[in-house]
Symmetry: C2
Subunit: 370 residues, 2 copies
């Protein structure tokens, strides 16, 4: 055939948030798979596991004892990647690793401080986020809000990264439903890249309107694309305040982004209704994920928002959550972002539109509950 087709022919798409490309080869989904087959996630767990260091009332490795919590529970990570206090790093310390005549351009290094916390989503060892009630997910969002607010007020903290690794495939070391918060003195690379893109876009367009924003414009465009035709519809679900969408530039097979439909800079700014709306979209999306291959769908997810509430770049930030799930074909065959992807460019085997259509067709009710 002589017609170009996005679901058959190779193309690249550009991510305006991170300023990078993804190679899309939709016909590759048809190749046979003889590679690694993952173990299907274990689905049977007790409500309470006496060996679990996250269950209520249990002892942790460091000897601390968990509260007998009944909702969410936040505590300091016992193996934190950054600490609130450590000695200062001097020029002579740097010489110890970088060498005496080290060019400061080739051997750039800085010490970094921060705090790491763990957020248990529920006392129940056997549940996961999509299996919680809407009220319980609201509690999770409220727990994030209060951590963000508290850390945001700490003058030594400049960025609060809230995230969840779900499933052992994504390096999660305990199936008890939980996420983490790593707060740092420096703005890490990914949010820094996004903030730079948001600012540049705003500068390019501020003559049109002073508060133009990549994500505000993107949400508006995708709302009308969704209404216009199936072939331009990347929305999975939405409500008044939030939209879950497979971004035009998605990398992971079923990657999505939950994005605020108005210009909200951080979770702290969410009112009660918006908090509930976020919880509802999170619930609907993660239920569809589990329903896709009828398994507990692994992913890494994280919030991107303003560094801290009072940071000079806060106003340009636009609250959104990324979900990066690895599964490709079924509950045991994943996509590997390896050789070509690491050395050259991320590559995907289906289009964003195909992924969105499949997620949209699923129910928002969890398969275990229906």
């Amino acid at each position: 055939d002589n017609e170009f087709s996005f679901s058959d022919h190779s193309h690249r798409r550009f991510n305006p948030l991170t300023d990078s490309w993804v190679l899309c080869s939709p016909h590759r989904a048809k190749r046979p798979w003889l590679g690694r087959v993952e173990e299907a996630p274990v689905e049977q767990r007790p409500e309470y596991d006496p060996e679990c260091y996250l269950c209520p009332g249990n002892k942790r490795a460091t000897g601390a004892q968990n509260e007998k919590y009944t909702s969410t529970f936040v505590f300091p990570n016992d193996y934190a990647a950054v600490h609130a206090s450590q000695p200062d790093c001097t020029a002579s310390d740097i010489e110890q690793v970088a060498g005496k005549n080290a060019s400061s351009e080739l051997f750039r290094v800085q010490s970094t401080r921060g705090q790491c916390s763990v957020v248990c989503f529920s006392p129940r060892h056997d549940l996961t986020l999509p299996e919680l009630s809407l009220d319980e997910i609201c509690d999770v969002v409220r727990a994030w809000k209060s951590i963000y607010t508290r850390l945001s007020d700490d003058p030594k903290i400049n960025y609060v990264q809230i995230f969840e690794n779900k499933g052992s495939m994504m390096g999660c070391s305990n199936p008890h439903p939980h996420g983490q918060v790593w707060a740092l003195s420096e703005i890490p690379s990914e949010p820094a890249k996004e903030i730079a893109s948001l600012k540049k876009f705003n500068q390019r367009h501020c003559s049109e309107s002073p508060d133009v924003c990549v994500l505000c414009s993107y949400v508006k465009a995708e709302e009308s694309n969704a209404a216009a035709s199936e072939s331009t519809n990347r929305v999975v679900l939405q409500n008044e305040s939030f939209m879950a969408i497979v971004p035009f530039w998605a990398v992971w097979p079923f990657e999505t982004m939950i994005v605020a439909k108005s210009h909200i800079s951080n979770i702290n700014q969410l009112n009660d209704q918006q908090t509930r709306d976020l919880a509802q979209v999170m619930q609907g999306l993660t239920c569809r994920y589990d329903n896709l291959f009828q398994c507990s769908f692994p992913y890494s997810m994280g919030l991107h928002q303003s560094p801290t509430a009072s940071h000079p770049d806060a106003a340009c930030c636009h609250l959104h959550l990324h979900f990066y799930p690895p599964l490709l074909r079924n509950s045991t065959v994943r996509k590997f972002l390896v050789g070509f992807e690491m050395m050259a460019e991320p590559q995907r085997d289906l289009t964003a539109e195909q992924a969105a259509a499949r997620l949209r067709a699923l129910s928002s009710i969890h398969y275990k509950h229906s």
Copy 2:
């Protein structure tokens, strides 16, 4: 204690090739691991497997039959991510996915062409790169040279990415020793980023000397650092022409880079001695990798070099190979670059100096041969 120590305290290091940071938390290596335990790689394979689509004389999925090859063997990938010919992509095709009123800034897309090949390293199904003889590894480098030269002459090809995924943990779908070549009409993101950094560094310093280069300067600095003291020594092994080093800014636990010690832009420029020197460093490095945990060490590796021999940016490029191996603690516990790493910044659990010292202490003779 009140002294800052790079092997105890959190810090960030900067990668001048990709213009990005890595968070280093060396004390994290001490945390207990209850997460995923990988299956140890299967070590027993027959010399010839009648079911393997890469073994000499066998039929492939598409019906083509492999030559009865006795050294290396190159053939077109049956499930190529890009093809040499496909229809052109028109503005109205783009409207089909991007929508009618799509802002060209938010919905950037381009069609892309190319060629994908598979390079079998040896007819023997049971061997891997480190188990081949030096002469056989020289044959592999020569096979890469001839592919690079041939594709480099194709006016529709602008980048030739040579890479290997080794081990099922790195998405490799067949244990028969092989690598791949994906050649594209566009320069992919990673090499594009590196080329931009190489050019900027050169522009900043060209008044000192017209052909100053990040990697030339880095190699020189690390040669004297290696001689100066154990604490600044990141070199694993080297010879006249090539150095294998854990870069100051390594992300993966035992990440290394093999870098040309003089300003060579691509493999095509290697003379016979340099070809042999590259093969020798590849052999020594991959043997040490296998020796580290006494297993077939998984990794993704790839060559970065000039886009094509005649590309306008060819002269500033400096030939190097990246090795990204995932194992962290032993043959079954890997590092996961997930939640925080995906959302915020790559994070590592040991220093580059610690990794280099461990690799340096090992023998260059493969444990199966000694």
